[in-house]
Structures are given as structure tokens and as C-alpha cells.
Symmetry: C2
Subunit: 423 residues, 2 copies
Amino acid sequence: MEKKQVVIVGGGFGGINAARELSDVKGVHVTLIDKRNHHLFQPLLYQVAMAALSPAEIAAPIRSVVRHSGNVDVLLGTVTGVDLNARKVKADFGEVSYDYLIMACGSTHSYFGHDEWEENAPGLKSLEEALEIRRRVLTAFELAEREHDPVVQEELLTFVIVGAGPTGVELAGALSEISHYTMGHDFRNIDPRRTRVYLIEGGPRVLPPFDPRLSEYAQKALEKLDVIVKTNSIVTKVHEHGVVIGNEEIRARTVLWAAGVQPAEINKTLGVATDRGGRVIVERDCSLSAHPEVFVLGDQAAFEAGAGKYLPGVATVAIQQGRYVASLIRQELKGKERKPFQYWDKGSMATIGRALAVAQTRRIRMKGFFAWIGWLLVHIYYLIGFENRMVVLFQWAYNYLTMGRGARIITNRDWHSHTKKNS
Amino acid sequence: MEKKQVVIVGGGFGGINAARELSDVKGVHVTLIDKRNHHLFQPLLYQVAMAALSPAEIAAPIRSVVRHSGNVDVLLGTVTGVDLNARKVKADFGEVSYDYLIMACGSTHSYFGHDEWEENAPGLKSLEEALEIRRRVLTAFELAEREHDPVVQEELLTFVIVGAGPTGVELAGALSEISHYTMGHDFRNIDPRRTRVYLIEGGPRVLPPFDPRLSEYAQKALEKLDVIVKTNSIVTKVHEHGVVIGNEEIRARTVLWAAGVQPAEINKTLGVATDRGGRVIVERDCSLSAHPEVFVLGDQAAFEAGAGKYLPGVATVAIQQGRYVASLIRQELKGKERKPFQYWDKGSMATIGRALAVAQTRRIRMKGFFAWIGWLLVHIYYLIGFENRMVVLFQWAYNYLTMGRGARIITNRDWHSHTKKNS
């Protein structure tokens, strides 16, 4: 019997878990295509941006992850489109035929129609972007140190984070801690504690998906860290000297974008139904209605989980859908019927700073130190499979004890230019 | 009494050690200027290039290193020239006056008049270059995996290292080990063990500054690792498909340059005497003959250590000169006379591969496992002062035990282009 060809596009949480679940399944050959060579543990990406961890500590080569899966091929390449009728994936290195296609391409930033803002307000989705954010933040302090004009110095020491979801909150808390503690003794001409960190949110409260009491707690905790939280504030302009919110202008050389996401570009080329946000609308088994052999996972897809309610774009959804689809294919090859995908909501958490977090499940609300311990345990647990988890633990312990940051290294040729093509 | 202004240009081994030695010296204020924010432990740079270590593990922010030296200012900036008569350093952020100037700007690659080769044969001097070499090496395997043409595949799996000094030998040994062991199980369509690694040396033997018996041992050890060593071979051309040596052409997509160095560009602007290689000729106290207040250290300078014999461009020279000059300034401020610099040759070492090295001092010659243990101990000792030395130890232990490499992460936007503007 000829092997069924399963093509997986994307080595994120969805793709990697699908590949692992199909590992050594008889009668199945898997080709996993990704434009990068590594699987990224995205929930800790902000720690790379904030110079607490190194890229290799939260990333693993996709090849290594599936090294022992003899039936899984990994190809580095960019997928440019899919011929749904001919069942072929088109990539920069050629075409690959499939019997089953699993798309798990993730999402990218949304600037709500203002893509020109990206240059002055990078987002946080990839290691490159994390390093770029790190470079901008560290360089701002360096430039402030050698600046004589107090107005320019103030602009350099003002940081604006747009969007107060978990990523925005984590960035704001970490940035404030760096300024207050880590950088405290390192500068002579500036007082890094004079740094101002703004967290701008369009909605009425920080951490919108959380329980309002946890949002309130998080806001107060951030304010204790001297973060200036502005809710109900829509950014109407971003330029190289700051942001505009209605009539107000905040002068800042460093603006970070954590406000919105949109699904991967490839969705526009598929010619299938999408929701308003551009996500592919999928059936209850994660497949396309006209193509049951094609599955779309994670935040690339809109999965309706109840009357008008869609699953959020979080890691647990992608992980569970990846495993589910792989298992579905395995069962289908044995002649069994498809069962719909059931999402098991494990809750959500966000760290605010050193030893502070909020967490909630369907029943439990936690905040403060114990929520942070919970956050720590969950992330360490999920890092299993990453060879470097012990290094991460070591770094964390070191950072925690010393208030230091082990990775304050700017690696860029043009360290003082805010260009997108950083080197 | 007004404080004496000491300006140090360069935060390498020479500059950092001078700054540390001047730490908290009364009557002295130090300004250390570097174009990068980090001090780099260069002897381990090849391990970053070979994906064994992460950048932050062998680099420390200069600010952190001198954090507790209240009289030392650190400025990130590029020095463009020196006005020796007005005693001013010109930098991109303005001018800085000095009473004493310590220049320790290091060296860069020399392509012997063929700067156009750099694009196809990057050298290894900075973290950026190490990451670029890592990217090229890892990407070559990735491209070979998806290549159908066996001729192109062979070209992708052929690596040429030009120059068989310690860096070239270390790169060749590591590259061969990666191909044979680390990548062994990761690819399906290629056999990474088919990789060919060439080590090209213009002189008659590898490791020219070492005892000929150690050179012979090193060459045999490399050949056991399947490295093809070619001595007495002058590269006459480098292009994007390989190198030319006289009548012979070696087709290779990845060429690394470890053949020659030249002092920092700034030497050309100083208007002082240099040797044929462009190094500033200094007196026996490391100063300029016409400017006893200006010192030039390390491989930026030509220090005559005996009839026509010059000190080599190694870390120990820069470290000792940095300490010496700082101590000289301290003594001079107390009215004492200058004593000439005395170099204490601690010997040299080079690793060939996992658990193999050569080492020599004036009296002792070592090779094999015990030389490697010595290499390990010396490098761990010198890493003291780097907060991350425990992480390095951990990574090494892990890599040693598993034959793995913890840092096989390509972080580049344009991962498949061999452009210099990597990110």
C-alpha cells in the first residue's frame, strides 16, 4: 500500500504537535515545511525581547524535535500557495503533493490598516523581532547616556507599549523592572529610574479576556511598578517621535506594538471563506467544508466554539488541534468516523513582573505570588521537550536572585538605526 | 585638584583590563568608548559560529563589567579620529578631551587586497559575524536537504576554511564533528556525513606558531576527523561557488576566512608611524614616541619584543598591556618613572575537536585529551567575570554528553541569502 502523504505547513505549536502525533504511524509519510529552522516557544518570547533569555533557550531546531520520527521529513522553505483541487502545496523550492494537508501558519501583527506604523512600532512574533525590540530598548538607554539635551533624553527614556493583552502587560512590567533595578547602577549621566513606561489600551481595562477583578489587580500592580496605564485610549498615529492618542501626544523614541494580530498572509491566496479578521472558517473537525482533507489550525483559523463564540488564538488551542487532527487522520486510515474537536480550556495566565502574575481557569482566580509560581510551573512543564529547559531555569534563578539580565547583548551592525532591516 | 581624564577606546581585552585597573583610582576619571555594548570573550567566538554557545554566553555588557567602578563612564559610539595635538578624541557623538589616551581597537580581517572576497568568505571577529557563519553553515545543510541535483548538493555540503591558525583549525574540527555527529540523524535526503571540510593553509603546516611536532599531530587529528588539509596552498580567488588554488578549483557554497588580520581602520587616520601590516609602532612603554600620553595596545600596535620580533596578536598580550598601562598611569600620577612593559608568555593552545587539543608553553608541549582538559580549565578560568560562565559549563557538559549543539537556531530574515546585511 502506498503511504498517505501528509503535508504540514508551519512548525509552531499546531504543526509540531501534529507531526509528533503522526510519528512512526504506519502508512503515513509526513512533510513538515517551515520558513524558519526552529520551533519557537512563543509564550516566553517577551523574555528574549527583555534580555532575560537568549534565542536558543526558547527555540529548538524543528529537525531535532522530530529527529526520532523516521517518517517525518522537514523542509526549510516558504509556502506561497495551495492548489486545493490538485492537492498540491506550492513552495519556493517546488511543489509537494498531499493526501492530507494541515495548515498551521499562525498569525502576524495587525496595524489595523496602518502597516506604515510597523517601522516605528515593531511587534513581537519572531526571534528576529524580539532581538530587534531588545536592540531598540537597550540602545535607547545608551543614546540617552551620551545625550546632553534633556528633552531628547526624556524622549529616549520614554517607552510606549500599545495593547494591554498578556504580551503588552508582560512587556510593560519587564521594561519597568529593567529600568528600575537592572540598569540602576550601570549609567552615570542618566538615572534609568526616570524611565517612563506607558501602556496604552483601546478597551476599558487591561487584560481584556480575564476576569475584571484580575484586570483591576493587574493594573494596580503595574502602577506600583510605575507603569502609566491608559485605558480607553485609541492610538491614532505612530511616528518616529512617539504616538498620538486623540489630542494627546506622547513623545517616545521606542514604541512597541502588542495591539492586534491577523492571520498569515497565505489565507488571502486560498480562495476559501474567511471571517472578518481574515481567519479561515473551519468545520467542527478543523477542516474546510469543501475539502475535508485540508485542516487549518490555531490562530490561522476561525473555529466556532458555540453561538458566535470563537476559540482564542492561544497556544493550548493550537496544541490540542494539532494532536486532534493527527489522531483523526490516524483513525480515518483505520476506517473510523470523524469526531468533532473538543477544546479543553486550561485557563489563561499572564505575568506582571518579578513574582507577580494573574491566572484563571473556569473555576479558579489567582493573583500575586502564587499565580506567578503557577505560571512558572506551567511554563517549565511545557518547555519539556526543549533540551535547554535547564538552562532557562538556571537563567531565571540567576535573574531572580540578582535582578540581573543575562542577555543584554546588542548584536547588530547598525545598532543605532531603527530600520527594519536590522543586522 | 582636577581629575586626570583617561579615555579608553575599545572594550576588548586591552581596554577592559585597563579600565578595571583604573577603577576607583583617586584623581582619575575614565571614559571608555566602544561601538558595541558588550565585551566579547573572543577565544570562544568559534563556538557561537558552530552553534555550541549563544552570543550572551560569551559576551557581557561593558557597563556591567565596570558597574562598580564609579569613576568609569561607558559611552556607546564610534571613534572616527584623534587630534593628537589638541588631545581630543573625535566620535560620532562629539569630542572628548583626554590627558591620557589608551587605544585598544583590535584588528579586523585582511583579505590581502581582495576585500571583495569578504562577501563570499566571511571572517570571525564579532558576534554578528559568528551568527552569520552559523547561518550559512546551517542553511547549507537545509538547502542540501531539499536539493535534487547531486552536483549542487555536493557543492552545498562542501565547506572551505582558509587559514590554518588556531581559529581555522578550531572551525574545521568543529564543522567536521557537527556534520558527523550532531546532524547525523536530522536529515532524510542527505547524509551529512558526506560533508567535506577543506582546511587551506598558505604555509607549510597547520598552526604555524606552534611547535612543528604539535602541528603534525594537529594535522593528523584533523585528518582522522575527515578534514582535508591542504598546506602550501595559496587561495588566488574566492567566488560564490568556491575557491581557486592555482590550477585547482574547489566547489563549495560556504567559505570561511581565517587567514589574516589587519589592525583597525583608525590607524590610517592617526598620522603616526606604522609597520608594514599597518600596526602602530609603539615604544617600550606602549606609548607613541612623540606622544607619551597616548598608548596603543594589543593587535592594534606593533610592540618589538626583541631584535625584529614582535608580540603576537593574542588575548594575553592585550590583557597584560591593558593592566600595565593603567598601572603606569597610576604610578606616574604619584611622580614615579615609567618602567618598560614585560610580556609574560603564558603559552598558546588550540582545540581540534571534542576532547582533543594542543598546547605549549616555553617548556611544555601537550597534545590530546590532557591538552584539552588544560584548554577547558584555562578558558573557564578566564571566563571568570562573566556572569554566564556556569551556563557555558552547563552547555558544554550537555554538548559533550549528547554530541548535541544547543544553539542551532537561524535567526535571520533572509535566511537563504548570503548577503552581508544579515539580521
